[in-house]
């Protein structure tokens, strides 16, 4: 197959990346948080800054308490960039640092970002984090930094990318093989590490994909759905007392 044909074929494939997070499986263990740090060169900031809203986690596990002792419950919900289709963060950026790419991703172009932090204010999920200082990776911790991902400089907004470097890699491989990306071929770091397999990633435009099937679960809901942001992250409701037989 000639290169041109493969290109055409590749372009014919529609991708719309999405994620399903099954809260009934999620145990709140935090493996995704560290995996994301490692994969995306997310810096750590230390105690003082963490305590003042400057932690850089791209994914965080929110823990909500319900009820009172002894009828108390803790609920975990991993919150990462919801990759909204109607992303409120995008149009407010004056320099197009935040825009929507053709595969439904909410792209953030670090080197265009001037740091108005407008996007962070307009993100209803507050998942955008800002480099308040130059990130520090004391030697030789810097040797761990992934060459596939930029290290962001101070004054720049950043957030979850759905591990776009992995998407790119898989698409390149697929293109060389003259095929579409297979279902399950791409796994963001969080989904890959998740011990209870609570995170499913895939192509929502493909009705045969796992993520598509799970996204139609009756347990589905999306975060603050009434805002109309149309997120690409779909949660499946977790259980509770009511589920015990």
């Amino acid at each position: 197959m000639s290169m041109k044909d493969t290109d055409k074929k590749e372009r014919a494939v529609k991708y719309k990346w999405g994620m399903v997070i099954d809260l009934d499986r999620c145990t709140g263990c935090g493996a995704c948080v560290v995996a994301c740090h490692a994969e995306n060169n997310v810096p750590f900031v230390g105690k003082e800054l963490s305590g003042y809203g400057r932690a850089m986690h791209w994914i965080r596990i929110e823990r909500y308490w319900e009820g009172e002792y002894p009828h108390v419950r803790a609920r975990f919900i991993p919150v990462l960039c919801q990759q909204c289709n109607n992303a409120p963060c995008e149009p407010v950026c004056p320099v197009y640092a935040s825009y929507h790419n053709a595969e439904g991703l909410n792209a953030q172009v670090y080197n265009r970002c001037v740091g108005t932090r407008y996007c962070a204010n307009n993100c209803p999920y507050s998942v955008r984090v800002f480099n308040f200082f130059e990130p520090s990776f004391p030697e030789p911790l810097d040797q761990q930094l992934s060459p596939d991902v930029t290290v962001r400089t101070k004054g720049v907004m950043e957030k979850c990318t759905f591990c776009i470097q992995r998407i790119r890699r898989a698409k390149e491989t697929a293109r060389l093989d003259g095929r579409a990306v297979r279902d399950g071929e791409i796994q963001p770091a969080c989904a890959q590490t998740c011990p209870p397999d609570a995170i499913i990633f895939g192509n929502l435009a493909d009705p045969k994909s796992r993520v598509f099937r799970f996204s139609k679960s009756p347990r589905r809901f999306r975060l603050i759905e009434d805002l109309g942001t149309d997120p690409s992250v779909i949660y499946l409701k977790g259980g509770g007392h009511e589920h015990v037989r």
């Binding site: 009934d24 493996a31 823990r63 004391p138 761990q144 037989r245």
Partner: protein, 735 residues
């Protein structure tokens, strides 16, 4: 994970992986066009995956390490590994920072300042080794070979063999493989009930009703990744079945948070609850008749033995409502397969043995032992070293106090931080004239050493790992160096082999290996075919590419062999400190993030919020809101926690899911040393623990201390990621 990981088996042949990767050098300040590829075959921008094994905790998961340009970039689970199936936990992910920690011991060091001052001077390996040999040989010459104490964690595979051989060659019986979260108690109890002295595997995946008595299997208990994965499947992988999960324990752990139902039982009364349930099951005839036949039991005799455990008194002792007890008893017996787990908060009580036996009896009663979805005792893993007993530890402390040890070698364990001071270990340990540490980081124990001969970190070493559980037969993960050693460190195995060679005596004969790798290869070959040859190069490369030997048999469902089992009454637990002066139980728990403190030096983990409290970078004490209110304590206040043994000052976390008569502190923080990210972060609560024991069985009761709380100030220096009030306002998100 249904798909095959793309080309991770393209793991290039790596016979000498360690020697291949040479691009770690410094001084790449100029951009040099890439014309001639480097000899090692690494291509910039193209990463290689190397299979290895994780040693961050005893679970022994398999990992894949992504290496680009000679540097380790990312750790992922090995999908072929039967224990973790391609998944890996936060601690496993963070092993990268163990490798690249800025405060590693970069070459051998000799103490120059006062003992414990942490002042060292770098020396060469020659000097370091000769210092070690001098000590060893002097002692031996004087005929005091038994004055050598070797401290390690529970060892596995080749290392276990090596240390055992070394000690026997040298002539000292004093190899202490003890760490605080020991499995000894489980093993003893299992012998009593099931006739098997190993740790069973739990078939969570297939179970339909899970009952955990303080077993935090999703965070620290045995094999969290394995059980985490199985838990996910238990909940949602079966089309019409969602496994139910009830947790019994005084504090809601992360695991308990995933339960459908949390029963805050009185501390130390879990065994009573189990027996009460057993009685109800017997009363209602819901027990497994087949199982009773198997163990030749007599339900009527059992009933009689359980006469004290009527619903009313059990409800009173456990502090639970009778309806709750009946409902879980009925569910446990009728929703099959069911499974009861028992964990550290139950075991480490003065009646822990009784409780474990009671709970295992409960499993037995409804037929959960040796059944799919139940407790599996399989053929014991080959190469799992043994652990020392608590009694052994105590006798070692006595010996230390009598100055019976002149030389101590410490490998991969940090007893100065990790043992409760009430057993007097720390004081006694300071009396050892010469301490050699093999730590790759300047941890609390290394600070007290006279000589440090730094080991490689896991990602630079050869080694083998035998998983604790879940290895139904011969599963051995192989560690291989994925990068060149960063510093002038040496593999502990090689150092010990060199030491053995340098001994005056037969060291050479017993340990005739060229090097540690040689020894490892021979062992692997032995595992494959029992021969004593070195593994052939081809086999070896295949094993390395896979990440180890995974010859998984179908789980052998051993039905318990022990006959004449009968329920044993649960003794009343004893607690140190009287109720008036010390009104609260102290529940210490292994941190889901840094376990017992061995991972505290990794900044990713320090910055990863504790799942329940969302606290980062420190320790805290969890207090029920009602209790806190009555003591005038607010979120973040500095609180003094006092026991009969000592006191610590620690910030308060108002924790709605803990019994009002209990407070909890995580283990693992409060290091002195261990690098910049752990040093003096948080407090170490082990100093609070009273030396309570189950005297009958000589087992520790770490959960038997009572404490009191005093508010000191509002400056607790607590950092939580979740807003204290916002954490109660989940309804705003409509989740």
């Amino acid at each position: 994970m249904g798909i095959k990981r793309r080309k991770f088996l393209q793991l290039t042949g790596l016979t000498a992986a360690g020697t291949m990767l040479s691009s770690c050098g410094k001084g790449t300040e100029k951009l040099i066009p890439f014309l001639i590829p480097p000899d090692d075959g690494s291509i910039p921008g193209v990463a290689n995956y190397f299979a290895s094994a994780c040693r961050q905790c005893p679970a022994g998961c398999g990992i894949l390490v992504r290496v680009a340009e000679g540097r380790a970039k990312k750790i992922e689970g090995n999908p072929l590994h039967p224990v973790n199936k391609g998944k890996i936990c936060a601690r496993g992910q963070a092993a990268l920072q163990d490798l690249y920690h800025p405060d590693r011991v970069r070459q051998p060091m000799k103490r120059v300042g006062a003992k414990g001052s942490g002042e060292f001077t770098p020396i060469s390996w020659d000097e370091g080794l000769s210092l070690l040999l001098e000590q060893l040989n002097d002692l031996k010459k004087q005929g005091h070979a038994d004055r050598l104490l070797f401290m390690t964690p529970r060892l596995q595979g080749t290392l276990s063999e090596l240390v055992w051989s070394f000690m026997s060659v040298y002539g000292s019986p004093h190899h202490l493989a003890y760490e605080m979260l020991n499995t000894e108690s489980y093993e003893q109890a299992n012998v009593a009930v099931c006739g098997r002295g190993d740790v069973p595997d739990y078939d969570l995946e297939k179970t339909q009703y899970l009952l955990s008595f303080g077993a935090d299997f999703l965070e620290t208990y045995l094999s969290p990744v394995r059980y985490g994965n199985a838990f996910g499947k238990m909940r949602q992988s079966r089309p019409t079945i969602r496994g139910a999960f009830t947790y019994v324990g005084a504090r809601m752990s992360m695991t308990a948070a995933s339960a459908d139902r949390w029963l805050p039982v009185n501390v130390g009364q879990e065994g009573v609850l189990a027996l009460g349930m057993a009685r109800l099951i017997l009363e209602q005839g819901l027990y497994s008749r087949e199982m009773v036949k198997n163990v030749e039991g007599n339900p009527e005799v059992w009933m009689k033995k359980l006469s004290d455990y009527d619903l009313h008194s059990v409800a009173e002792r456990t502090g639970l409502a009778p309806e709750e007890i009946t409902s879980i008893a009925r569910d446990f017996a009728t929703i099959q397969p069911s499974l009861a787990l028992v964990g550290d908060s139950v075991v480490f009580q003065s009646n822990g043995q009784d409780a474990v036996q009671a709970i295992q009896f409960l499993n037995l009663l409804v037929g959960n032992v040796g059944q799919p979805g139940g407790l599996l005792f399989c053929s014991p893993p080959v190469g799992q070293g043994s652990t020392s007993s608590f009694a052994n530890l105590l006798s070692k402390v006595d010996a230390l106090e009598r100055d019976e040890f002149h030389l101590a070698l410490v490998y991969r364990t940090n007893p100065v931080h990790g043992l409760p001071s009430a057993i007097r270990f720390q004081e006694a340990f300071k009396r050892v004239p010469f301490v050699v540490s093999f730590s790759s980081i300047m941890d609390d124990t290394a600070m007290h050493a006279d000589l440090i001969l730094p080991d490689h970190t896991d990602l630079e070493s050869w080694g083998d790992v035998v998983p604790w559980v879940g290895a139904h037969s011969q599963v051995t993960g192989i560690l291989q160096p994925v990068v060149n050693p960063l510093y002038d460190t040496r593999s502990f195995g090689d150092v010990l082999l060199a030491a053995a060679r340098g001994l005056d005596g037969e060291g050479e004969k017993v340990l005739p290996y060229k090097n540690y790798l040689d020894m490892l290869k021979q062992r692997v070959q032995r595992l494959i075919d029992g021969s004593s040859d070195t593994a052939s190069e081809k086999n070896w490369v295949e094993i390395l590419q896979r990440g180890g030997l995974f010859e998984q048999e179908e789980a052998v469902l051993d039905v318990p062999q022990k006959k004449g089992v009968s329920p044993v009454p649960v003794r009343e637990p004893y607690f140190e400190g009287n109720k008036e002066a010390y009104p609260f139980h102290l529940a210490l728990f292994a941190s889901p993030v840094i376990y017992d403190g061995r991972n505290a030096h990794l900044p990713w983990l320090q910055e990863m919020p504790d799942p329940m409290t969302t606290a980062v970078w420190g320790a805290w004490v969890e207090i029920n809101p009602k209790t806190a209110e009555s003591l005038g304590i607010k979120h973040g206040d500095l609180v003094m926690v006092e026991s009969t043994q000592g006191s610590v000052q620690v910030p308060a976390v108002i924790f709605p899911a803990i019994r009002p008569d209990t407070v909890a502190i995580p283990m693992g923080q409060g290091h002195h040393g261990m690098g910049r990210y752990a040093d003096k972060v948080g407090v170490n609560p082990l100093g609070l623990l009273a030396p309570v024991m189950d005297k009958e069985h000589v087992l520790p009761a770490w959960g038997a201390t009572r404490v009191r709380l005093t508010r000191i100030s509002d400056k607790g220096d607590l950092t939580v990621m979740g807003h204290p009030e916002g954490s109660y306002r989940g309804e705003l998100l409509e989740i």
